[in-house]
């Protein structure tokens, strides 16, 4: 019997060894993964009452920790002008986690990042509480406010303004928006009530930033990429003339592709100059050119500008991939060249198209963080402009810039004109399926010769009748703020 008893002892030892092994796994090897699990609010709870670094725009805090008088926590997160900045700061919520920069800059704001190690070390000896670093954004509050005010209430729309020479994002505003303070309340009952209310607001998604997350067909603004591809293959020339028939049927389909009925394009139904075609945004010349350029070239060019990739470096999440589809046939290629079919782009993506053309073919990486400073004002991280990709040659960029003056002077973007500002821009109106509703776009930059800003406006899902000049007017208001007109 004793041998069997010894074996039972071995079995018991094995059971306890399994427990010891599993405990080691959970508390040692898997601990980091569990601590960082999205469902885990412990870290948040632990840090919630600590003073957290501020997020600043133009030197003024747009998110800051303010001391509370009593209550469960010592500090409370407060957002200033929250409707303007909700998509950038996101919120830091006790019950709902954190979003956008509040989430991606967590270690910096909480003071736990690696480059704050020595601060923490000296705090250990001096007995001062750890403090988070402050983050200054590239945002220009004046432009941000102008962009926000210019967007119509009750519509879904967004504006992105960047400096094409450095990649700094000067404004990124959208509507509908919300008061992020509602998500930062410290009572869970109140939070639940606020969250329910916000979630039932039509068109509002509190956890996303419209400019980088919502993607729609870019319409005719995509023709800028047709031009880049066409200039590179030689299928377009700056002074060329092309067939501008009112109707054209792509091969392999009986679905006709046409210029807008009654639009200015029909005034030149034969051959038309490329200048006229771009200014009036005629469709048939681009559809025909796409067949010569080919889908591979078009896809390759669009990918240089950022299509089919995510702008993950921004610190905003979630982001969407702007899409130029694969495996097109002749007909779908023609529609894709007009920014229809399955082509989809975010507002930021179409701004990157303008940025690349504005900066002589050198596309800079859009960035949001200008500077990180420690609580004792020491600069921990400065702004470093980075090139995203060389998207085309300076010659081609300049030729296209010339063509983009057309819509503003005499074409589809005339309402964006501000006297004394040399604007280059391209509009877009993308039909939604076979309905009467469209997505409206404009993207461009100014001054055309030596651009300081690239501006992109997108208003989604509105009746065609409301589009006339809508995005151009919004762009105009932004320009006025930028150039103090």
């Amino acid at each position: 019997m004793n041998q069997a008893i010894r074996r039972i002892w071995v079995a018991a030892v094995v059971l306890l060894t399994i427990i010891l092994g599993a405990t080691t796994y959970v508390q040692f090897f898997a601990a980091d993964a569990l601590n960082n699990n999205a469902l885990n609010s412990r870290q948040l709870l632990a840090n919630y009452g600590n003073p957290r670094g501020a997020i600043l725009a133009g030197g003024k805090p747009i998110a800051e920790s303010v001391k509370t008088d009593g209550g469960q926590f010592d500090y409370k997160r407060v957002y200033n002008d929250p409707e303007l900045y909700s998509g950038l700061t996101g919120y830091y919520s006790l019950g709902s986690g954190s979003t956008q920069l509040e989430s991606s800059l967590e270690s910096t704001l909480a003071g736990t990042s690696d480059n704050q190690f020595f601060d923490r070390l000296s705090n250990l000896f001096t007995g001062t509480a750890d403090q988070g670093a402050n983050v200054e954004l590239t945002i220009d509050p004046k432009i941000q406010k102008a962009a926000y005010d210019a967007l119509p209430d009750g519509k879904k729309g967004s504006v992105v303004v960047t400096n094409p020479k450095t990649g700094e994002i000067l404004a990124m505003a959208s509507k509908p928006t919300f008061d992020t303070n509602l998500m930062a309340v410290q009572s869970s009952a109140e939070l639940a009530k606020n969250r329910t209310k916000l979630n039932s607001t039509p068109g509002l998604r509190i956890a996303t930033n419209q400019s980088v997350y919502e993607r729609v067909s870019p319409g005719s603004t995509f023709k800028l990429l047709d031009l880049v591809a066409g200039f590179e293959t030689g299928d377009f020339a700056a002074d060329g003339e092309y067939d501008n028939s009112p109707k054209w049927t792509p091969p392999g389909t009986n679905k006709m592709l046409g210029n807008f009925d009654g639009g200015t394009c029909s005034s030149q139904p034969g051959k038309a100059s490329l200048k006229f075609i771009v200014a009036q945004s005629c469709n048939t010349p681009f559809g025909q050119a796409s067949q010569k350029i080919g889908q591979d070239k078009l896809r390759e060019v669009s990918e240089r500008f950022g299509f089919n990739a995510k702008p993950d470096w921004l610190g905003l999440a979630p982001t969407s991939t702007s899409v130029f589809p694969k495996e097109l046939n002749d007909a779908t290629l023609a529609y894709s060249s007009l920014g229809q079919f399955d082509v989809q782009a975010t507002t930021l993506q179409m701004n990157m198209v303008a940025m690349g053309l504005a900066n002589d073919g050198k596309l800079m990486k859009p960035q949001l963080v200008k500077q990180v400073t420690s609580p004792n004002l020491q600069v921990l991280q400065g702004y470093k402009a980075e090139e995203y990709k060389t998207v085309t040659t300076a010659k081609i960029a300049n030729d296209i810039t010339d063509l983009m003056r057309g819509p503003v002077e005499s074409g589809t973007a005339m309402k964006a004109k501000v006297s004394g500002v040399d604007l280059a821009a391209k509009t877009g109106t993308a039909q939604i399926g076979n309905t009467n509703r469209v997505h409206a776009w404009i993207t461009g930059f100014a001054p055309a010769d030596d651009p300081t800003v690239a501006i992109t406006v997108n208003v989604q899902d509105l009746p065609y009748s409301e589009t006339h000049g809508l995005t151009s007017t919004i762009m105009k208001k932004v320009e006025e703020a930028v150039f103090n007109k």
């Binding site: 019997m1 004793n2 041998q3 069997a4 008893i5 010894r6 074996r7 039972i8 002892w9 079995a11 018991a12 030892v13 059971l15 306890l16 399994i18 427990i19 010891l20 599993a22 405990t23 080691t24 796994y25 959970v26 508390q27 040692f28 898997a30 601990a31 980091d32 993964a33 569990l34 601590n35 699990n37 999205a38 469902l39 885990n40 412990r42 709870l45 632990a46």
Partner: protein, 500 residues
């Protein structure tokens, strides 16, 4: 393995009484026990003091002094009782149990302080500890010799079935957290299953102790495995059906596993045949398949176990919130733990009972939990040591069964907490808050102490009593007709099956 050195007293059951065995005279070692209680109480006192000094405690929280004084007095009482009635009992068992009980008490105290509405679970835990030790003393006094328990084979069976059926009786049975394992007695909730594990161990030990020769002798040999006759499989079938019934009617996977595991271990020890384990595992597989296919709550448990970190499972009612909170707590504790009062173990549902392992993990860390596992390992090893030394088959079987139950229960509940297997509603012996559990486990310890006393005590008269001799005495005294079979001379040698 040094603790597993051959026992001083010759092992019973082998029937080799003819060989002379050197008997080292045993000393009582009650003073060693008393001395070891100092570090045991010291650990408990330090833990409880740190709780009282932690940020969650109110200023001037002196409850730790009360806790430790009471524990100390109770321990002293146990020590004195053992001096009187079980002088040669193993000196390590009591200090280990007191340390575990004290650590559990400190954690429960800490969770009381951290609760949104202050609770006083620690006070009742202390009360039940006292009650548990009192029961242990009464058992030591009333029973003296564990061999008396062998006489009531079928009474133990009836009592076990009665205890298991109780929670299903309308009116007194209560469903808590989806399992029907509770009964309501006046203001108290009792878990009869905690006591049933002990009475079942009594039954198995006395039944198998007397029937083992029959089971051993008959049966077909297939390959190297000798299989039992179908009719000898009866008890196995009964045990399996009881386990399944517990699973189906009480919806308690943990208890079902524990009862069946206990039976398998005891029949293996009784017969020394691996074939029983093989058959048992086939039964477990069949039962498991049945449960997975036809029982909704088992399917849910398994789903919650496998997909615990899926947000929808996490947020679902009856989902993985509890186990995931436990994992987060343990991860937060990491290697060194947060220290008492510095973590957030109150966020774990049932953090002071089913999930106390996770609560301890957060505040004491991997280091603390390793120490606790080591204490269990020591406790179980001492129990097995008593089994090896016991001079009668019944005592061997019972001590092995009771020790293994501790191991198995600890394993089932912590493996559930650690997501090694689905979480079941068992308590962690001595650590978890719960009167039934504490009472039952102190009774279990009393019996282990009694067996170790009998194993280590110097034999009276000429040499030690072998099972054989004991059986002859029993037969002569006609204490039990069943037990006569225990003494079949050289039965195991004839089978050549066992070397001990």
């Amino acid at each position: 393995m040094t603790s597993m050195a051959p026992p001083a007293a010759p092992a019973g059951g082998s029937g080799r009484a003819s060989k002379p065995v050197k008997v080292k005279p045993q000393r009582a070692k009650r003073n060693l026990e008393l001395f070891l209680m100092i570090p045991a109480l010291g650990v408990a006192a330090l833990a409880d003091f740190l709780v009282s000094a932690s940020p969650v405690a109110p200023a001037n929280d002196t409850s730790w002094i009360t806790h430790i004084l009471v524990m100390g007095l109770l321990g002293l009482g146990m020590n004195i009782s053992l001096r009187i009635w079980a002088k040669y009992a193993d000196p390590f068992i009591l200090p280990i149990v007191i340390a575990l009980n004290g650590i559990g008490l400190a954690m429960i105290h800490r969770l009381d302080l951290g609760a949104a509405k202050a609770t006083t679970v620690a006070t009742s835990q202390l009360l039940y500890t006292g009650l548990g030790m009192a029961c242990a003393v009464i058992i030591l006094w009333a029973i003296r010799d564990h061999r008396i328990l062998r006489r009531f084979t079928y009474i133990w069976l009836a009592l076990s079935v009665f205890l298991l059926i109780l929670p299903l009786v309308p009116g007194i049975g209560r469903e808590i957290n989806g399992a029907n394992i509770w009964i309501k007695l006046g203001p108290f909730s009792v878990q009869p299953g905690e006591f049933a594990k002990i009475t079942l161990a009594f039954f198995f030990a006395s039944y198998l102790g007397s029937k083992r020769d029959l089971i051993l002798l008959a049966g077909k040999k297939i390959g190297r495995l000798q299989f039992p006759r179908l009719r000898d499989m009866g008890p196995m079938l009964v045990a399996w059906l009881v386990a399944l019934a517990v699973l189906v009617f009480q919806k308690d996977l943990g208890s079902a596993l524990m009862f069946f595991g206990l039976f398998m271990v005891m029949i293996y020890v009784a017969t020394g045949r691996i074939s029983w384990i093989a058959i048992g595992l086939v039964f477990v597989a069949a039962g498991g398949t049945f449960a997975m296919m036809f029982m909704g709550h088992v399917q849910r448990r398994v789903h919650v176990w496998l997909d615990a970190l899926d947000p929808t499972v996490y947020q679902a009612t009856g989902g993985s919130y509890q186990i995931v909170q436990g994992l987060f707590a343990m991860a937060n504790g990491g290697l060194p733990g947060t220290g008492f009062g510095e973590g957030k173990p109150n966020s774990i549902p049932l953090g002071n009972s089913d999930m106390i392992y996770a609560s301890l993990g957060e505040e004491l860390g991997l280091i603390g939990l390793s120490a606790i596992v080591m204490l269990f390992l020591l406790l179980i090893s001492r129990g097995i040591r008593a089994a090896l030394g016991a001079r009668d088959g019944f005592g061997k079987l019972l001590a092995t069964g009771l020790s293994f139950i501790l191991a198995l229960q600890f394993f089932i509940v912590t493996a559930g907490v650690l997501r090694v297997m689905p979480l079941t509603g068992l308590t962690t012996p001595f650590l978890s808050a719960g009167g039934s559990s504490l009472l039952a486990n102190w009774v279990l310890i009393a019996i282990l102490l009694m067996i170790s006393h009998n194993a280590r005590r110097p034999s009276t008269g000429g040499g030690t009593l072998s099972t054989q001799e004991q059986g002859m005495i029993d037969r002569h005294l006609k204490v039990s007709t069943d037990s006569a079979l225990d003494a079949t001379p050289d039965s195991t040698q004839r089978l050549g099956g066992e070397t001990s």
